[in-house]
Symmetry: C3
Subunit: 157 residues, 3 copies
């Protein structure tokens, strides 16, 4: 039976999302069944780049405007310097032929990593399915725990 | 034998504390034996709302004044906006009938989740038992490791 | 067979590094085989105090200057107050005879905790082996996963 690995991606920081996907892709390459459960700010990693028309209340609209729209817009947890830090990191990653975060996400989906959006957070922040990238599953904490209890490696990032 | 789940709550952020208690309560609902070990800023989650009279040195007093006094006073790890962010989150949680952090803590205690305050941090920050809510256990890292080594799901939040 | 414990130290914050080493040293005292895998900002914990002459490109030089040079220079994740917070924490730790971070690192090495520097991050940030303390191993995410899959306690800090 395949080993299992789960990651809760709570953070919406570029550096932490990169770390999460590098671990997830590494585990998938070793034939682990891997689940990433996106909750709170982590959901921003999954937003589409473009503005998607939706009907929302004013508070949900405000969250939508204030939070980064997708993997290309995330900031760093340290040394963000108003967006200069992420540019520096992206520059050195490209120079070293490291995969960018959007490419890491694509690779994860190709490798069958299960990407699960936390439905409770979506409700709270007013994020709708049309605003998120394709190929996701939608579930709550019970589904996460069901995966985690069978996994050897469980991380909260 | 019951599955075990442990969480180290290091963070003193409202959003991370909510995530910790949602996972803990979910695991307890599935009959896991759940331990949350509160260390560093995570201990602020357990402070009583009211000022408790204690004898302290000046540095311990300073920590006491600077750190948030209980679950109702925590800020967000992102988008705190000087306290506006937590108000927004509390508002949408109430609107969606989600349990507030104080209610999540109460539910955890009702479900038998073991809440353990890290005695070493209490010494360092000068926090005394009378300043923390009732129903806690007091222990160090050895007790945490004793629980974690038997648990399938171990998270650091 | 010995129990195994792994920690990914992603964070470059003093408080989180202290927590990581206290858990690692605790586990080692219980005869666990312990690995700390230092990635991203966590690598700063391992930098030598002194400036080491190296040949680097301008971007790598910039990272080198902006990032804290070793365990004595790390800031706090909360209440840093431009460096006052770390002084306060160091002061109370000394007062309570708690080991400082440099002492915790030394103890970990004495107890045989395996300290692994993430080679991919070293490439990206332009950190070279001569800039890091002695006694480290150098490896990538595959080696980390190899340890983690046999471990009961796996934390991401």
């Amino acid at each position: 039976m395949a080993e299992k690995t789960t990651i809760v991606l709570f953070s919406g920081d570029l550096d932490k999302a990169i770390a999460a996907f590098i671990i997830a892709n590494g585990a998938a390459a070793y034939d682990h069944e891997v689940t990433i459960f996106f909750t709170f700010w982590g959901l921003n990693t999954l937003r589409k780049d473009e503005v998607v028309k939706t009907r929302k209340g004013p508070l949900e609209k405000a969250f939508g405007w204030m939070m980064p729209r997708g993997a290309r817009k995330l900031g760093l947890s340290k040394m963000n310097f108003g967006g200069l830090g992420p540019q520096m990191i992206k520059h050195v990653m490209k120079k070293h032929n490291a995969l960018s975060l959007p490419q890491l996400i694509e690779l994860a989906q190709e490798q069958g990593v299960k990407l699960v959006a936390c439905t409770m957070t979506m409700d709270l922040l007013g994020l709708q399915k049309e605003e998120l990238i394709d190929g996701l599953e939608y579930a709550g904490v019970a589904a996460y725990l069901g995966d985690a209890v069978d996994a050897k490696v469980n991380l909260f990032i």
